[in-house]
Amino acid sequence: MLPRFRHRKTRRRLISDSRGFSSIVGAIFAVLVMFSLISTVFVWSLSQNTLYNNTVRQSNQADLDRSSEKVQVLNTTYNAYSNGNVTVSAQIQNNGPSSIQFITAWLYVSNASWNNYNWCKLTNASVQGGSVFTLNVNLTVSGLNSTYTHSFASWLITARGNVVSLQRTIVYGNNIIVSQTTQGIGSISMDFKQSRYYDFGSGYVSNGTSLPSSKNSYTIPNSNNTILAVLLTNYDNTTQDIILNANSYLWIITPQAGTVKPAAWNIANVTNGKYINSFSTQTLQYGKPTIVYFGPSSPSFASSALPTVVPVFILLFGKIGTNDFGQNIPFIAFYISS
């Protein structure tokens, strides 16, 4: 038989045989179902994927923009006034490619026994790339007494979420701004107004004894046990912390007794207002006025030499970084009463 006639016969048989229709309809339905579902889910998941990728791209771009913010801060000055007002001034150079908007300025003020902070919103503080912005903000820090020495720290927040630190500065009482380093006489300076002593009487000072009320005087008793306190600030020009060890003393001598009679107060550990009889180290953080205690001890000079005025030497020894550090502060005199 010719193939042409054979095909015609097969087709006719297929058409006349209705038993296969349900399978065909079922197959068509199955294909329709699968196609509609797969295409819907595929297109939808594609759109979700695009959405996600766009978000990742935007997020990466935001991170890139934030990390490309480059700011150089110059000439930071702090001026404190009697009512607690502080003026912070600085030159801010935007070295990055994009403009930067500063939204908030923060100020932290501290000394050995007090600290506080405040903030203010900045308006029109937008700096184009390559431009210089002059910052001049006034903040009020409650409790600030401008006659005392304080450490000032300030920082700015950008709209992209960066924190830009301004230079930290120590401002002495009455707004005497000192350089960061007293290179001529050493890295540590002393605040004379804050010197004081604690008089324990003639008794033994045991471990854990609470400090009595302090006395702001340069006259100390000859026979009583005293703990002497001085306020020291680390101005090291490399801004490193100084760690004082037990080889630090407060030392006095008298020229009155015919022989040079010394007396020394070892550096002491006073924690939470109590004398602790073991001392390991004491850290002087850069720029942070810190009280350093010495004692307990007494001059115990011969009565024939009393009363007398003696020079006081604060001998400080320890480490700065990995190097030794040693300094003598010789600017005090005590009057030893009989």
Binding site: S18, F21, V33, A62, T104, W106, I157, A159
Partner: protein, 160 residues
């Protein structure tokens, strides 16, 4: 034509296969539709579920929180954390705060920095703060890590 119809009507042997086929086709169509509806509902549920996951991931990706300042008052054992929402999405709320590896503090009373008013979340570029009393209390002079977890699950860590 008339003769063919009368022949078909008279020929009873052909009716049962036709009816059987019709029933079979109807059944297949019915089951097919049912399968289609079921599959569509399943895929709709899947896309909804997956869509919410994607949406949540996208929102999480857009979250950025910067720590403006962290202040600890050792006399009152009070830790105040100042934050800014520097991301591109709003409604950033704090669900938990971890101080070091201690038990999280999940009762966070967030306040807006500008007004001091309480707020449940921060919008984009908004600043806020909250205070907690860490337990155990912090030791001044030592490093501590503060980790906040947002309601969307993002974590941000600062060391003080």
């Amino acid at each position: 034509m008339r003769s063919i119809i009368s022949k078909v009507l008279k020929n009873r042997r052909a009716i049962s296969p036709v009816i059987a086929n019709l029933i079979l086709i109807a059944a297949v169509i019915g089951v097919g539709f049912a399968a289609l509806v079921w599959a569509q509902s399943q895929s709709s549920s899947y896309t909804t579920q997956y869509g919410s996951v994607i949406s949540s991931d996208i929102s999480q990706l857009q979250e950025r929180v910067v720590f403006e300042y962290i202040y600890y008052d050792s006399t009152k054992n009070n830790l105040t954390v100042y934050l800014m929402n520097s991301g591109t999405i709003g409604n950033v709320g704090v669900s938990a705060v971890y101080v070091d590896t201690n038990t999280p503090n999940s009762t966070i009373a967030l306040r807006l920095l500008s007004t001091g008013a309480s707020a449940s979340s921060l919008n984009a570029t908004q600043e806020g703060y909250f205070s907690i009393s860490p337990s155990p209390s912090l030791t001044p002079g030592t490093n501590h890590s503060i980790k906040i977890v947002t309601r969307r699950g993002s974590t941000f860590v600062a060391t003080v």
